[in-house]
Amino acid sequence: MGSILLVAAWLAIGDAPADDAAQVITDTPDYCAQLRAEVQEEMDVAATAKPAANPEARAPMLAEVDSLAKEGGRLCAAGKVRGGIIRLRRALTLMHESPPHGGE
């Protein structure tokens, strides 16, 4: 039943006025800039935090986060907002998966 409703709704999209549909606001350059700032803030926190139990293990991760953040910012600036946002989200996820104090 759910499938039928979904297909019917999909078929009906063509008839729906664009004004009726809600707009997703996490696909915008503003959100991209917001994410970029969050990543930078997390990287700054990581840089000023107490040394981790195993700083050598975090270095490649931080390098990848930095790379993703720069690439995301570049894509957003180039108008490829969704691609840029996805990279920034990856960067944030990487940061959160590896806390600065090694879980101590």
């Binding site: 499938s3 979904l6 999909w10 009726d20 997703v24 969704r82 989200r89």
Partner: protein, 479 residues
């Protein structure tokens, strides 16, 4: 709560014209065609199998994706609810922001509003139109980066008049479903085509195989009993059917030939005694001077007519035996006294004719059958032996038991029966070359064979060198 927005676009109703377009009429011959029914059955089975496969594939792909989306939304909502219960509104807002920030799949939809409809968190610019019922599922259009898309969401009511929308962008899944639907529609067309082609082939093959049977039986129905069904040589079910039909036709042909032969034999064998009786009566009528002469002529004619009646009785008896009607008279009995009586009777006749008669048997031989019938069959064999024995010849009546078989053998030293004729002498009215000059009806061995078969036994004729050995092989009584 925001004001109720316009209703979601509705699926358009497709009108179906009603009314009587006239009853579809099928040709009657087509409906009666077994080939068409088999073809239809094949097409139906093929179609059902394909439909089952398509439904399974649909369930395993598109429907699975839908179930996965619903499960992800429920799990997501459960986590948010726990955050709401533990940290209240601030914790919930923070969690939504974090989840949006880490939504690598870029498909999450969140919207948290207060009791005035003001947006507190989430990634929709406003409360979507059409979402008015709490704790319900919706499919709704959204716009992402100026591109229209489709989302599946669930509306949760929170304490304090807050409302939380949790969902997923399912545009990619819808596209995949569309591809699957297209593929399945094409598959249905291909299946219908293949089913139709297969049904046509099945019908053609069936018609081809039955056509020869139909032609043959039609020709036989028209009187040509020589026709037979052609075998393909594949040894399949149709070949076995053709063999069975051909066997049946052979048997019918033999029976027809037998009926013809018996009719001819009856006409031929009875014409002589009837003509003789008529001649005697005419002669007596014309020439007899005294009552004694007339009486003698009538007595001779009566004897001739008795002979004719005896022939008819023998024919009827054989028919009765072959029909198995006498099985109800079966009972266990000792064969030796029966053979002893016959030996006494025929031994006396043999002695009168200067023949030697030898009778050997064990003390007892138990049989289960019709005593009178077996006695009649052995008597017929002894009649033949007496009839064909040369002067000073020897006749033997031997009975023995070999395993569970009881053998009764009558031998003589007459001319015997050539091997080529042995199979035919048991036919009714058949008389071999050596028997043409001797009196008889040609029914004695036919009756003996019928009796043997009635008792699930056999009658074998072998060379006695010289003479004939006729053996009745009968199953003995089981203990």
């Amino acid at each position: 709560m925001p004001a109720p927005p316009p209703a979601l676009p509705r699926a358009r109703r497709i009108g179906i014209a009603s009314g009587h377009a006239g009853r579809l009429r099928w040709p009657r011959g087509l409906l009666r065609s077994a080939g068409l029914r088999f073809a239809g059955l094949y097409a139906a089975l093929f179609g059902l199998s394909a439909l089952a496969l398509v439904l399974f594939l649909w369930w395993d792909t598109a429907a699975l994706l839908d179930r996965q989306v619903d499960a992800a939304i429920r799990a997501d909502a459960q986590g948010l609810n726990e955050r709401w219960e533990s940290g209240g509104l601030p914790a919930l807002i923070l969690t939504i922001r974090e989840r949006l920030a880490e939504n690598i799949d870029d498909d999450a939809i969140y919207m948290l509003v207060d009791n005035t409809g003001r947006r507190l968190a989430g990634n929709l610019d406003r409360w979507p139109p059409g979402i008015t019922t709490d704790d319900d599922w919706y499919e709704m259009p959204i716009v992402r980066d100026r591109v229209r898309s489709l989302a599946r969401v669930h509306n949760f009511a929170l304490p304090g008049g807050f409302h939380l929308l949790v969902g997923r962008d399912v545009e990619a899944r819808v596209k995949l479903r569309r591809i699957l639907t297209d593929a399945m529609l094409w598959a249905v067309l291909v299946v219908a085509g293949l089913g139709g082609l297969g049904a046509f082939l099945v019908r053609s093959v069936l018609r081809g195989m039955l056509a020869d049977i139909s032609r043959t039986t039609a020709a036989i129905g028209a009187g040509d009993l020589t026709r037979r069904v052609r075998l393909s040589g594949r040894g399949d079910e149709f070949d076995r059917l053709a063999e069975t039909i051909n066997d049946m036709l052979e048997r019918i042909s033999r029976l027809m030939e037998g009926v013809r032969a018996v009719s001819n034999a009856i006409a031929h064998d009875l014409r002589t005694p009837i003509t003789r009786a008529r001649t005697r009566l005419e002669d007596a009528l014309a020439h007899a001077d005294a009552a004694a002469d007339l009486r003698a002529a009538i007595e001779r004619a009566e004897a001739d007519l008795d002979g004719i009646v005896a022939v008819f009785q023998a024919i009827l008896r054989i028919a009765e035996i072959e029909a198995g009607a006498r099985r109800s008279a079966f009972s266990p009995f000792d064969l030796v006294p029966v053979l002893g009586d016959l030996a006494e009777l025929y031994g006396a006749v043999a002695e009168e004719r200067g023949l030697t008669f030898i009778f050997r048997s064990p003390a007892a031989l138990m049989l289960f059958g019709d005593r009178d019938m077996i006695q009649q069959a052995v008597a017929n064999l002894l009649d033949n032996a007496l009839k064909f024995s040369p002067p000073q010849g020897e006749i033997r009546l031997l009975a023995e038991s070999q395993g569970r078989i009881v053998r009764i053998t009558v031998t003589d030293q007459g001319p015997g029966i050539p091997e080529a004729e042995r199979a035919r002498v048991t036919e009714r009215f058949y008389r071999g070359e050596s028997a043409r000059t001797t009196p008889g009806s040609g029914l004695g061995l036919a009756l003996a064979l019928a009796v043997a078969q009635l008792h699930d036994g056999t009658l074998t004729l072998t060379d006695n060198a010289p003479g004939l050995a006729a053996t009745l092989n009968l199953p003995g009584q089981e203990d």
